[in-house]
């Protein structure tokens, strides 16, 4: 088989690239390969599947006719196991070879598996793929209690789904608080309160040393010897870039695949994006692993344009999350808790239901966390993403009535005012160009 574009990975990054390619090049042969045997689905929504709130069809990321509509050949349930960079080829596990002109590695991440005894027992699961969720679902009838290892975003989402299924969950988090990479202390504490209110036990500062059971899970032992009885263990300590295909090639990797502002690797014609790649993070000013859906999409889109010959720079991303498990309303972005606060200004506001925190460095917003009232958080994040100098409005960012009108007028005029040369129509009639309004 020969194709102009080969995309490995059928998720946020791969789909974004395919959509961008089709905006530019309607005809060039496009093949997507995925070792998951599913139509493209929304990975974050596997928790809604497990909780029973959504069927498989309800978590599809694009309509069932997507591949057909876009003239895409999608090979699902097929794994690429070797790349021939010089020849422009990819070998599938089934022996088939695909020749390509442009290649995108949108291979995502794989779960980090801790080294502990008993990991091979029945009842130990990951929570990354739809198949994981299906397997957990199939196992639940014998489960009353579960231990979730890892109190990050994935662990929290698994926990919520299990709680909704009536399972008693204990979360074991190695650091001193849940969601510690995304939130500052105050916000973590609020989140923990909400999680505990739902009946979840949270154990922080410990790890699981061993999973107990004869063949099948019956408990977990913590590093301090404390034992927790449970019938299931979900390992959710994070993901690591899936870069095995780059082995034996010249494609440069650091922790993830190294890419430039066009999402291109060091090898001509080969691109990478999403959880597999280290895309530019504007807060850190360098390439970095940020495993979030929006960045995978934007990175994939950028890659797709460039693959199809339309130059486009990655606008840059940073960690940016909305966390609304357990009835929470939290949004966070960037560097919420700088390791060294010197040189940073931190603005906070707190009252009964609202907590807001904005971290500023050299007159630019580098981090934010909002709880409760999040409807206007995008305006603040927009200033952060666009690297706007906020020296004149710093003190107003957390004002109760903060909104677009607080921004420098040229900023909102550019977004809202009638563009030069546009033909305007009002309720009555065509507006004369010159309307005196003073």
């Amino acid at each position: 088989m020969k194709t102009k574009y080969l995309i490995i990975g059928n998720s946020a990054g791969g789909i974004a690239a395919a959509e961008a390619i089709r905006e530019v090049d309607k005809k060039g042969a496009l093949v997507i390969v995925s070792d998951e045997a599913h139509h493209t689905y929304s990975r974050p929504l596997i928790s809604k599947y497990l909780s029973g709130e959504r069927h498989k069809e309800g978590i599809l990321f694009r309509p069932a006719s997507f591949y057909e509509d876009n003239n895409i050949t999608c090979l699902t349930g097929e794994r690429v196991d070797q790349l021939g960079i010089k020849e422009g080829s990819a070998r599938l596990e089934n022996g088939q070879t695909i020749g390509w002109q442009k290649l995108l590695l949108a291979t995502g991440g794989k779960p980090i598996m801790p080294r502990m005894k008993g990991m091979d027992k029945r009842g130990v699961f990951n929570f990354i793929t739809l198949n994981d969720a299906v397997e957990i679902d199939g196992y639940l009838e014998r489960v009353k209690r579960a231990v979730v290892i890892g109190g990050g975003l994935i662990g929290t989402s698994a926990t919520e789904a299990l709680v909704k299924r009536g399972i008693a969950v204990t979360v074991v988090e190695m650091k001193d608080r849940m969601l510690n990479t995304l939130l500052d202390e105050a916000t973590s504490r609020l989140a923990e309160t909400a999680v505990e209110k739902a009946g979840v036990s949270i154990i922080t500062g410990h790890t699981v040393a061993e999973v107990l059971g004869r063949g099948t899970v019956c408990g977990a032992v913590l590093d301090d010897g404390h034992e927790i009885a449970c019938e299931m263990v979900v390992v959710a300590i994070g993901v690591f870039p899936r870069v095995e295909l780059t082995q034996g090639t010249e494609i440069e990797i650091n922790r993830g695949i190294v890419v430039d502002k066009y999402m291109a690797t060091n090898v001509a014609g080969v691109y990478a994006c999403g959880d597999a790649a280290e895309a530019y993070d504007f807060v850190y000013g360098s390439g970095r692993l940020v495993s979030i859906w929006p960045n995978a999409y934007v990175g994939g889109r950028t890659a797709g344009y460039n693959m199809a010959g339309k130059k486009m720079e990655y606008a840059g991303g940073t960690a940016m999350n909305s966390i609304n498990y357990f009835g929470l309303d939290i949004v966070t972005a960037g560097l919420v808790m700088p390791a060294d606060v010197s040189g940073h200004e931190v603005f906070t506001k707190q009252n009964d239901s609202v907590y807001q925190r904005v971290v500023v460095k050299e007159n630019h917003i580098v981090g934010m966390a909002f709880i409760g009232d999040i409807e206007r958080s995008g305006i603040v994040f927009g200033l952060m993403r666009d690297r706007v100098d906020i020296s004149g409005i710093k003190e107003q960012l957390l004002a109760d009535d903060f909104g677009l009108a607080h921004l420098p007028p040229e900023l909102w005029r550019e977004r809202l005012a009638v563009p030069a040369g546009a033909r305007t129509v009002t309720s009555q009639e065509e507006v004369e160009e010159d309307y005196s309004s003073e």
């Binding site: 959504r54 934007v298 940016m320 999350n321 994040f381 009108a405 005012a417 129509v425 309307y435």
Partner: protein
């Protein structure tokens, strides 16, 4: 290519901040389409999808800009938020939206609203079925206008 793209813009210098745009928006997005019922009777209460921003003497209405680079669409986890390739109108599919609010933080204009009733996102939909979006059609001072630009993409 070269198609005319229609958008709502604001002439801030003549906006009085009266908020009638919000009233008409809320009515249009009600079941009864009746002003009184839309504000006082309907349960659940419909919501306006635009805001009037104010600071001192400055005021203007803000609704979804249906951006050329729609961050909300790029950030949507579920595939609910889409930009129509022909009209450029950005819509959210209420069947698909789960109310994760990733689009809220992605929108630089704070132009999306939480639908309090369904816990999903609500936004300007350009009033399908109406000749002109009702906020524009009923703006007493013509501060809201529709303008056509040529799509250069």
């Amino acid at each position: 290519m070269g198609a005319a793209v229609k958008r709502i813009y604001v002439r801030e210098e003549v906006c009085m901040g009266c908020g009638l745009c919000r009233v008409y928006c809320q009515t249009e997005h009600s079941r009864s389409k009746d002003i009184y019922k839309a504000f006082k009777r309907e349960m659940p209460l419909p919501q306006s999808r635009l805001r009037v921003e104010r600071k001192g003497d400055v005021c203007f209405a803000v609704q979804c800009r249906h951006c050329d680079e729609p961050w909300c669409v790029y950030s949507c986890l579920t595939g609910a938020m889409r930009k129509d390739p022909v009209t450029g109108i950005v819509t959210s599919d209420s069947e698909k939206c789960i109310g994760c609010w990733t689009c809220l933080i992605a929108c630089p204009n704070g132009a999306l609203v939480k639908d309090r009733n369904n816990k999903i996102v609500a936004k300007c939909d350009f009033c399908p079925g109406q000749e002109m979006p009702v906020c524009v059609a009923n703006c007493p001072n013509e501060a809201l206008v529709i303008a056509e630009t040529d799509d250069e993409s």
